[in-house]
Amino acid sequence: MIRLVFSKKGLAKYISHLDMQRTMQRTLRRAGIPVWYSEGFNPHPYLCFASPLSVGIEGENEIIDFRLAEEMPFEEMKSRFNQAFPQGFTAKDIYEGFDPVKNIAFAEYTLSFPKDTQPAFEKFWQRDSIPVLKKTKRAQKEIDLKEESQTVSLAENGDFFDFTVILPCGSEKNINPQLIVSALEENVGKINSCRIIRNRFYKTDLSIFQ
């Protein structure tokens, strides 16, 4: 197995996880990557996505694992990917020997809010607890955003301020950063243009997943 690390930015954030499967399969074909096909009635390339990215969130270091049917130098593969990718995608790294996807426990996100909402946000985030309802397919559950998240930084960035936070991101527990935006909106009203980027993944002990 090899791992492709890529970014998914700009309007590409509107491509859903389901559409990503299709998009990646076609990119692999266009790029002429000798990907391994499953045997059987309906052969298809086996692609393993690290963690689905919600529609509307950009990704800086997204991960796909796949098998090769024959060798190809990683540098060549990378440049082939970059030629074959649709707008908004960039292949950043390809390597072997990596942490298994099941070891992902957290993800780091940067939320960019318009600067004029900064005072309101700071006040909001100083609370001891921020209970929100998390909807799953079956039911909804109350969770405390403050308890679940670990603030990394809060920094000015031109007309915006960047709030970087680590949230659970795994099969056991997963918290969508859009919950922070909606909770804030409940307090300060509608926020236009909040950009969210998923920066990277971490393991249980908060060491970087790679």
Partner: protein, 593 residues
């Protein structure tokens, strides 16, 4: 930024965000003409259409023209766009199309007409041609429905009649020559063959444009590859145009005459290129009747040499039952098994003779036998109700044909083990169309449609037979629009003003809204669709000359009532007149040298 905000609130943002692989973005400083190619339906439908891919490619090969795609937004997107005052934009640049030089609609089916009006409104372009000025785009239209342009003529500045690959380029060059002056361009364009400018009524019928040689005409070497799933999401390889069959109900069979084939060498080259460029894993051979392609075995063999090792699936829609061979079936199944689809269209031999669908029961059985022995367990059959001279006997025949297939399956010792058969009847209502031998015929009423549907249902007893049919109401309105005249523009406007849009979608179509509008305008369904027209009545579409003569259509109509068939063009020339306009490779006297 407003666009980004609304995209996060709509169901399918990927329908509006553009950026698909293969979409063409040009440097504005190098572009002289901006063209918004509008498909008046949702993205998932429009992106499935081959014509838009061909013309998108043709226009964009002109260095000074930038052609972009525009689709009808879904209702949630439309609402958001209105709220934020975002006018209809093109996917590539996101620029409002009202700033473009041309806005072109492809009219593929009558029920999309209200979408044309809606898109003009969303684009903030004056609805009526007469109200547009030099600062507005020139609104043009093409596609099969423009063979009768009258119902929508008040909204369109110029119609491009026929195959557009060359005609559109001529128009673009003329526009530059006219200094991009709207009035001058429309005046000059009206003089060019294949152009209908309603403002300048033609002195003689407008001749439909045809491509003489399909091998040398441009074909896309890349497609825009959508992110989200669309209806036809594969490499479409057009292997020929036209049809040799002359089924009397089929408008396409006459509109696309003469029969022209592409050579296998060219097709294989195009297939290779398109697969590499798009990354698709399926090729579909497209035409009106794939099995009439002369060198089909050779083409399939050579395509499979390329497809098999690359895990590319080959599909062959539009196969006819009569010349279907085991060899071809095996080739289709070589990459992946799929069900069989046939279109007997009518349930008895008598009625099939009337409509000139030269298919016999023996042939259907023969084909199914081959397919069943090859492991196939599902058959889909297309039939129509409401055909001229049809009686309940003919409808009963539909159920009997399906039952015979079920019985055949169980009688075969070599049928697939332990598997059951599924025969699906897909039932459509016959709508008489312009430029067919049935263009004078009466269309059955809604009551009669519903009665016939119920009757067929009562005749089906096996659980292995599934019957699918559509609400007959859409067919009634389609019938009105298909053979309509200029007075229908008022009806279209009224329907649109009363909220009509996406009328090809059952959940949005309102029969009552249409009937109300037709009545309000003092018109009737009976006048357009219900009554039988005499041969000598002037027809709204007499202003168009598709190359097939009215005398031929009258002859064919009379033969229909005599239950006499007309052999295919390959066997004998029926003298339809198309050789006057363009000579195809099977027209006598017009054989390729």
């Amino acid at each position: 930024m407003e666009l980004e905000n609304i995209l996060s609130r709509v169901q399918k943002p990927a329908w509006y965000s553009g950026g698909e692989y293969g979409s063409i973005v040009k440097d504005l400083s190098q572009v002289g003409i901006r063209f918004g190619f509008c498909f008046p339906d949702l993205y998932e439908i429009g992106m499935s259409h081959l014509g838009i891919k061909i013309l998108y490619h043709c226009l964009n090969t002109m260095p000074n023209v930038w052609c972009e795609r525009v689709f009808m937004p879904n209702l949630d997107m439309e609402e958001e766009m209105k709220k934020e005052n975002i006018p209809l934009f093109a996917l590539e640049s996101k620029d409002p199309i009202r700033e473009f030089d041309f806005v072109g609609f492809t009219l593929q089916y009558e029920m999309s007409y209200t979408n044309v009006l809606n898109m003009l409104a969303l684009a903030q372009i004056p609805m009526f041609s007469k109200n547009r000025t030099d600062t507005d785009p020139i609104v043009i239209a093409g596609g099969p429905c423009t063979c009768n342009p009258e119902p929508i003529a008040d909204f369109i500045d110029l119609f491009s009649i026929g195959e557009g690959e060359e005609h559109l380029k001529t128009l673009m060059n003329l526009y530059l020559k006219c200094g991009k002056n709207r009035t001058k361009f429309l005046q000059e364009a009206a003089k060019i063959e294949g152009t209908y400018v309603p403002q300048y009524p033609p002195e003689k019928p407008v001749k439909m444009q045809k491509i003489q040689d399909l091998d040398s005409v441009e074909y896309p070497d890349r497609f825009v590859v959508p992110f989200s799933q669309v209806v036809h999401d594969r490499v479409m390889l057009e292997i020929m145009r036209g049809c040799i069959r002359g089924c009397r109900f089929c408008q396409a069979g006459f509109l696309y005459r003469p029969f022209r084939q592409k050579s296998p060498e060219i097709l294989i080259e195009q297939a290779n290129k398109l697969c590499k460029e798009t990354g698709y894993d399926e090729i579909s051979l497209t035409s009106l009747s794939t099995s009439d392609y002369d060198k089909l075995p050779e083409l399939c063999d050579n395509l499979l040499v390329y497809c098999m090792p690359q895990h590319i699936n080959l599909s062959l829609p539009s196969l006819r039952v009569d010349n279907f061979t085991k060899e071809i079936l095996e080739k289709v199944q070589a990459t992946r098994k799929s069900g069989l689809t046939f279109a007997p269209e009518a349930g008895t031999q008598r009625l099939r003779d009337v409509i000139n669908k030269n298919v016999t029961e023996e042939e259907i059985e023969h084909t199914c036998r081959i397919a069943f022995e090859g492991g196939c367990t599902s058959v889909k059959l297309y039939f129509m109700i409401g055909l001229p001279t049809e009686t309940d006997e003919d409808i009963k025949g539909i159920a009997e044909t399906a039952q015979k297939i079920v019985d055949l399956y169980y009688s075969l010792p070599e049928k697939p083990k332990g598997k059951s058969i599924q025969v699906t009847i897909s039932l459509a209502t016959f709508v008489p169309k312009p430029f067919t031998p049935f263009q004078w015929e009466s269309q059955i009423s809604l009551e009669e449609i519903e009665r016939k549907q119920k009757y067929l249902k009562s005749q089906i007893t096996s659980k292995k037979i599934k019957l699918n049919y559509h609400d007959g109401k859409t067919s009634v309105i389609e019938g009105v629009l298909a053979r309509g005249d200029r007075r229908l523009s008022k009806v279209l406007l009224k329907v649109f003003e009363n909220g009509g849009k996406l009328d090809a979608w059952d959940e949005h179509f309102s029969y009552e809204r249409w009937i109300q509008a037709i009545n309000d305008c003092g018109l009737s369904v009976e006048e357009y669709a219900g009554r039988k027209r005499p041969f000598d009545e002037p027809l709204p579409w007499d202003i168009i000359d598709i190359g097939v003569s009215k005398e031929f259509f009258i002859r064919e109509n009379k033969k229909a009532y005599q239950e006499k068939t007309t052999p295919s063009c390959k066997l004998q020339c029926a003298g339809c007149g198309i050789t006057e306009l363009c000579s195809g490779d099977v027209c006598p006297g017009g054989k390729k040298q």
